[in-house]
Amino acid sequence: MAVVKPEMKSYIWLQTADGSIQQVEEEVAMFCPMICREVLQTGMGSSKNYAISLPQRVNPAILGLILEYCQFHQVPGRSNKERKIFDEKFIRLDTKKLCELTSAADSLQLRPLVDLTSRALARMIEGKTPEEIRETFHLPDDLTEEEKLEPLRNMTDDPRIRLLNRLYARKRKELKEREKLKNVEVEEEQHVDERSVDDLLSFINGANEDSKSARATKSKKKNRRRKEQARNSSTNNETGNHNQESNCPTSSCLNGDTGDVFSPLPSDLQVSASVKFSPKLDFDDGDIDDELDPAMKEEIDREVEDFARRLNSDWPERMQEILSLGQERRPVPLSVNGNGSLRRYTGLDRR
């Protein structure tokens, strides 16, 4: 074995899968971890007869490229910018070479080169349609149409699926609302059914001087009744109601002061069905009543009297209505408008 003089460069011998052997400068070859390990662990590569066998994926042409990469990067003094510029130029290869290079670099465990080539390949995949990708990489289009549509595919992107979801969502919402109203109306009916005729009559016959609680109950009932009356008759007797309303200036100022307490105006009902239809609201009215000061209470009394009078006059008819409606499934059906808002639909319309 010849003595290697310090000035002479040392070489590593590499053999590719096809049998050909190459001589490479040591520091360049040692840049590849796999070669480095072979040299250090097994001592191979020091001469032609003991050339290091490279993995099968490394053919001579690709080896040339890899060595070019190693040669540039193993020089320590280069700046990051220089390296980047070199890299960008280096990966301007055709797709086939790029894939082979990735594969070879991986088998030599040259991680930085694998990352570089992967990034280039990733750029060819990102944002491209399947057809484009198949063409770039010569992939066979061997999935059946059904398989392509299976749930495995990206769920968020198909416009058809999105449309379907939207339609389902809307349908579900409609169904839910209809359910809700059905329930509410069932409760309403119960309230209507609860009161016996005697109760109603006693209310009308002047229980005004009674205790607060009675009044509270009264006003509760009155309120409900008033609401129903307004509801039932609004579409037909709107003008009638308005006239009556205007005869009671107190009611309007009360409306302003106490908000929802006495506000069975038809328009209010349309505004927020949920407020009007919740049975709880009626009970709250009673509480509100109790907190009113005497002046208010006087006005309320007056209004109660008025209402009683009115009720008295229409009583037979009203009673008929209420009782007959109570027997139907949906006394005041509501339907969903095109834009999703509720619209009152009274049984009276049907008559």
């Binding site: 995949i125 010569h138 595919r153």
Partner: protein
């Protein structure tokens, strides 16, 4: 090797390469590769890194629909995934509802998760389920805006190397326990904590990053610290606390970091260090400290000035110094300019100091004296760069003249005056 130009170039490569490629595209595109060909149907499902961010959002204006779609996408991806998941990152301004997030985390805890990054919502905090604490292979944990409550039987993250908690609500004692129960911890970031009193015991810790209102920080067992970056905010009750506390903050913080190479301090850091610092005591030398960056140093507070000097004098190998001055000129006290000549002997030399960069310079007497001091004691200085604050444009010329007259110990020192463009 196939030389047929029509043959499949990519599908037969080993999965490690496929993964290397697919993790570099947005997850949405990776999932789309499932319809490329028969072989590609499940290649995406074996990748070990899942990153969900704004690239996964559908277009549109209805936030609830977008949020719902995102949740569905994540759930289905996880469900269809096959194999270990080493990295999971969720980075979005939407806040998935708690049951979904909890289930995802539970699923991940069973999949050998190593890196977990969760940064969701803009204003709300999520509650981390206990399964997060039982991911034994976790090496990298980043949590933003969450509530952490380590369960009593939590023994620590034995593999954790990187921990970052930002705006996290956690009982103060638990955070100490959390840190000290991660024996391999190398990097720690704590941001936006309120009034934290913290003792850090982390024998392998190399990088420390703190930002927030800290009442008291003690580095008790951190011999391997290389880089420290601290931004300290002040509130009224912290200021009060400073009045009353005993002990020297400088020693508590920098007393046990002999390997320190880089120190960065923002806002009230120098003020914090100045509490309890007695003049004349330099027990520790920082042999490896090469870069010091201090921002918002008050050159009117003698104590802060003393902290800066202590730092520089204790770092014989200091190469680069960057200081920005806080330009609050509040006092009209008489400046003790004799301090420089009197307390700092002439043989105090900064033997390796090469670059000094002073910003927000407003021409205060001590600032000028400091520059003069450095120029006179730095034999290998190459650059002294001074950038004045925009509020002193009228005095600039005078200051420039003054600076140029100072004696320079280094023959190659250049003094540059940089005026920031308005």
């Amino acid at each position: 090797m196939d030389t047929d130009s029509d043959s499949d170039l990519l599908s037969d490569l080993p999965q490690s390469i496929i993964e290397s490629i697919l993790v570099k595209v947005p997850l949405v595109d990776a999932v789309r590769t499932s319809i490329l060909s028969r072989k590609w149907r499940y290649k995406w499902a074996a990748i070990t890194e899942l990153v969900f961010n704004d690239t996964c959002l559908t277009s549109g204006h209805d936030k609830s629909i977008i949020s719902c779609n995102l949740v569905n996408f994540i759930t289905r991806c996880l469900f269809l995934h096959d194999g270990p998941i080493h990295k999971f990152e969720l980075n979005t301004s939407y806040s998935p509802a708690s049951p979904d997030l909890d289930q995802w985390l539970l699923f991940l805890s069973r999949k050998d998760i190593k890196e977990l990054i969760i940064d969701i919502g803009e204003d709300d905090w999520f509650r981390a389920p206990s399964c997060v604490f039982f991911c034994p292979k976790l090496t990298h944990l980043v949590l933003v805006r969450c509530e952490l409550n380590p369960p009593p039987n939590f023994k620590g993250f034995l593999c954790l190397k990187h921990l970052s908690l930002q705006q996290v609500i956690i009982p103060p004692h638990d955070i100490e326990v959390l840190i000290s129960s991660c024996p391999l911890l190398e990097s720690l970031t704590l941001s936006y904590f309120d009034s934290l009193e913290l003792t850090i015991r982390a024998p392998n810790l190399k990088y420390l990053n703190l930002e927030g209102e800290f009442k008291d920080i003690r580095l008790e067992n951190t011999p391997q610290l290389i880089g420290i970056s601290v931004a300290m905010y002040m509130t009224d009750d912290i200021a009060e606390h400073f009045e009353q506390c005993s002990g020297c903050n400088f020693d508590k913080f920098l007393g046990g970091v002999p390997c320190l190479e880089r120190l960065i301090g923002h806002i009230y850091f120098t003020k914090y260090l100045s509490i309890g610092n007695e003049q004349g005591n330099f027990p520790v030398t920082y042999q490896n400290l090469k870069f010091i960056e201090l921002y918002q140093v008050s050159f009117e507070d003698m104590k802060e000035l003393f902290v800066v000097l202590r730092l520089i004098v204790s770092s014989p190998n200091l190469e680069e110094l960057q200081i920005s001055s806080s330009s609050i000129t509040t006092t009209t006290d008489i400046y003790d300019l004799e301090f420089w000549e009197r307390d700092w002997p002439a043989d105090c030399i900064f033997g390796k100091l090469k670059i000094v960069h002073m910003t927000d310079f407003s021409g205060l007497p001590h600032e000028i004296a400091f520059i003069k001091f450095l120029l006179g004691h730095s034999p290998v200085l190459e650059q002294m760069i001074v950038a004045p604050t925009i509020y002193v444009t009228d005095k600039v010329v005078k200051m420039l003249i003054d600076l140029l007259t100072f004696r320079r110990a280094s023959p190659q020192a250049t003094v540059k005056f940089i005026q920031e463009p308005l």
